[in-house]
Symmetry: D2
Subunit: 309 residues, 4 copies
Amino acid sequence: MGASLTGMDTPLTTTFPTTAFLGLGAMGFPMAGHLAARSRETGGRTLVWNRTPARAAAHAAEFGSVAATLEEAAGADLIVSCLPTSAEVDGVLDAVRGHLKPGSVWVDCTSGHPDAAPEQRARLLEAGVRFLDAPVSGGTVAAKAGTLTVMVGGPAQEIEAVRPHLAFAGKLVRVGDTGAGFAVKAVNNALLAVNLWAAGEGLAILGLRGVELGAALDVINASSGRSNTTENLIPQRVLTRQFPATFGLGLLAKDAGIALDLAEQARGSAPVIAQVTALYRAASRVIGAQEDHTAALKLIEQWNGVELK
Amino acid sequence: MGASLTGMDTPLTTTFPTTAFLGLGAMGFPMAGHLAARSRETGGRTLVWNRTPARAAAHAAEFGSVAATLEEAAGADLIVSCLPTSAEVDGVLDAVRGHLKPGSVWVDCTSGHPDAAPEQRARLLEAGVRFLDAPVSGGTVAAKAGTLTVMVGGPAQEIEAVRPHLAFAGKLVRVGDTGAGFAVKAVNNALLAVNLWAAGEGLAILGLRGVELGAALDVINASSGRSNTTENLIPQRVLTRQFPATFGLGLLAKDAGIALDLAEQARGSAPVIAQVTALYRAASRVIGAQEDHTAALKLIEQWNGVELK
Amino acid sequence: MGASLTGMDTPLTTTFPTTAFLGLGAMGFPMAGHLAARSRETGGRTLVWNRTPARAAAHAAEFGSVAATLEEAAGADLIVSCLPTSAEVDGVLDAVRGHLKPGSVWVDCTSGHPDAAPEQRARLLEAGVRFLDAPVSGGTVAAKAGTLTVMVGGPAQEIEAVRPHLAFAGKLVRVGDTGAGFAVKAVNNALLAVNLWAAGEGLAILGLRGVELGAALDVINASSGRSNTTENLIPQRVLTRQFPATFGLGLLAKDAGIALDLAEQARGSAPVIAQVTALYRAASRVIGAQEDHTAALKLIEQWNGVELK
Amino acid sequence: MGASLTGMDTPLTTTFPTTAFLGLGAMGFPMAGHLAARSRETGGRTLVWNRTPARAAAHAAEFGSVAATLEEAAGADLIVSCLPTSAEVDGVLDAVRGHLKPGSVWVDCTSGHPDAAPEQRARLLEAGVRFLDAPVSGGTVAAKAGTLTVMVGGPAQEIEAVRPHLAFAGKLVRVGDTGAGFAVKAVNNALLAVNLWAAGEGLAILGLRGVELGAALDVINASSGRSNTTENLIPQRVLTRQFPATFGLGLLAKDAGIALDLAEQARGSAPVIAQVTALYRAASRVIGAQEDHTAALKLIEQWNGVELK
């Protein structure tokens, strides 16, 4: 681990005049907007990069950021990435080799795999760059509002150094060492998946019996069975039949699969997360990986001959 | 259904000077206290009955209610029952035959079986008595505070007649016809069971990886995976290792089983509730039916060789 | 239980000159043929009844039985019934009241519910008739060959009395008291359901990886993972894409549901049978209750984007 | 893949005067005995190696093989390995570097991971050695009898070259390309795991109801629910309460986990295998990874308060 030690010898940057944001998807676009606003407040600037450059140009026009190539963005003092999976992050790391700035910090907000994090950190440390796994929760609403929850894995000192700049965060918590942020995110999303699916099953049972689902949710949400899915997702997305595609079914299946993978690696036993992961894989294939994650409940509807409305 | 029609011909009582409460368990005791206080405010009185009479005497001493025999209580204008299962309610109905007061209303707060409700209602209607299934949620804390959520099945007119007297309710919602209250309660508790179990699995996965569980819950509770179980039950009962026995594991297994039974009756498909019901049956046998429902997670701890603390 | 005792006082018939068969479905039709042949050999005759009389007439023409009304058939010395569920048997019992012959024996080959058996026996005993629950396994092939496996619940003496006449049996075993036959059949079919589903999942995994499924089944059938489903059902019905509808998906879901019900009644824990029952309910709704039970694997095919061939 | 091409240029050995067997565990010991007998018949010799050398000496004494160092064994014309997992095989491959004989064939009978096979083959091809994944099924009984089922992945020509020498095989089938052998074995064992667990649940249900389990198995084994587990494993190992430890619970959990992993890699959906894998992980932790795989049913016994005997 000589490279790592060498990397850790590089002094950590203490000011971040130039920041960069990689990945301007549904989440990244507004997140990068908050980053750009904070940079401007502190006299800095934010470079933005996206695989399809038109989206970077649109961001620059809307938020005063600077559309950049990947190589330019890689030279920033603080880099924030938000990509579909760890595989895309690895691809970007390949591409920026030789363009990184020693002393800088890379904050990866991707919902990545915990096993990828130590490798990514080691690889960046060879260039004197710190890596923090920092996935977010809250969806596009919180991304726009700048109130995302960020769960970060890595050394506390590095996290504190970048904390003031992550303007998209409403709450930012260090949950452990490198990889812990990804692990907590995977488990959070596995719980989302289970709670959502179970609520779908429960409402299908009530629907089959002729109970009015709005009234049922009203009391459940004042009772012990409530969750974020009964309080928010199902009333807003399912009962309305809108299923707005802000977080894809295929990505939720992937995240639940990461949690299952962690269980398996440790020879752990998580039969419910295992079952639910398989059911989301089915839903992703039958309903569509690009559909909103709440559309998984359409599979339950098919199985029960009932519509949740 | 001539009997039923005859029963419905009996005019519904509009004032309830004498109320009664049957079943002074951990929930019923404080609920009956609120009923007694409301009665006193309106110039009435509350009779209380319990299988072990000493508990009724204690209630009278604490709340100014009147300890009564089952036959005396049966003659009240409004009867509220809160017993372990529908079987115990049926037993009480056997015992009070001939002692009921035509025009009165029986509100059953037991977490009963939806199939029992129409039979119980029909049986009481023969004596001119209305039956409402009205299970509650909120636990002993809300029972003491008088802020329980009550989910009621039955005719709206009857519900409105008794609503002002059910002083233990913080929220009372009509969810449908006779039996719908029991159905919604069963589903609520099935969701509680699933959400709790899944959270236990998720935390076990993180524990196996060395993540600090308090920090993980902190971010999950600001994220999409949150539920009543991550916000309240697990921090208060599991991480503290206290598992205070306010709601028994065996009763939660029973409630989840009712939800599963409803699915099966309708030839519905609820694979996650089905699995989780079986896991709670296992936990109930291995950990103990009288233990607090949150102690189900001790089974997950055994399976993963990790303690949730 | 005075009626039962009275019933047991009626001497058990020792010869069965007139036999009757109720229910000439895919299984019952050939079974009744064997019953008729055996009767003829012993100088007796066999009455046959079916809800749609044309089928009884066809049976008489083919097997030399006698098409009869339900009331006529009810007067036989030995009655064998084979109907879809216990509910249909109860309906027939209603219809034959007053037409039964004291001392006779009723052998019900329906895949019935264990809880129905004691009630049906008690009811028939009031008329001096013995009831044996005697479901069969082996499908239409064994029904035609007269090699069915029969699992019987009831007193040994009664079983031995009728054993020589049940010519459709290749193997007939007393498995316990009244209801035990139905219980063992439900569990057998639950195992069939699980083994079939698991084999479907396993082959889908191999199919996704490009393994040739015929070769895979060849070695599995010489290995520890083999079952009746890998040895017979899948090669003959699934890989051929024929799915001949000899045993309906809806009926298998019903049987698995009976096994699950038995577990629940005993507060037992059977998480795999619980999940699989729910999956067959889903398959029954999505693929069709009338389809062959092996067509459940089409659901797995949909979920995995692969065809088992 | 230049190395691989070079490797494939090395002519394949056509005679195998010296064979070697690596790993003399419960399976490998008798398998190596058959290999040695066949070698002797054809004028060759068999080197045997084991991590603990005393076992190799014992083998030499019993079967006329030659105890050897790993380096000596590595120079054989045909090498057969049978180790706990692919990780141990990788370790051995590290150790034999530089000692392999170009043109030889390595047949790995480990229940390995399908992903390991292509890497192991590529690595050996660099030394001009062919690799075949060839896991076996049949347990210690078939290993002793020389009637194992062998499922092989790799080029047909190479398989045919070694087929006559694999004297422990009763049946040897090419199931596909490199890795396919491991995949089929993982799926076979996943089916074993599911069928065994389901049978345990089913018998627990019958046991709770007082049905005699021997009679129940007797009819199930003549019915559609039968499998290798009801026909052999449960009567011989569970009902006898002997649970002879010939195939460890932990290894079966590992194999089911490989099947689950294959499903996840292909974004497949296998909810029952997923659930059962988790249950075996639990059993492995609670009952013991070294216990016989059939001892998993002790967990079901605990959950149901019933003994399977």
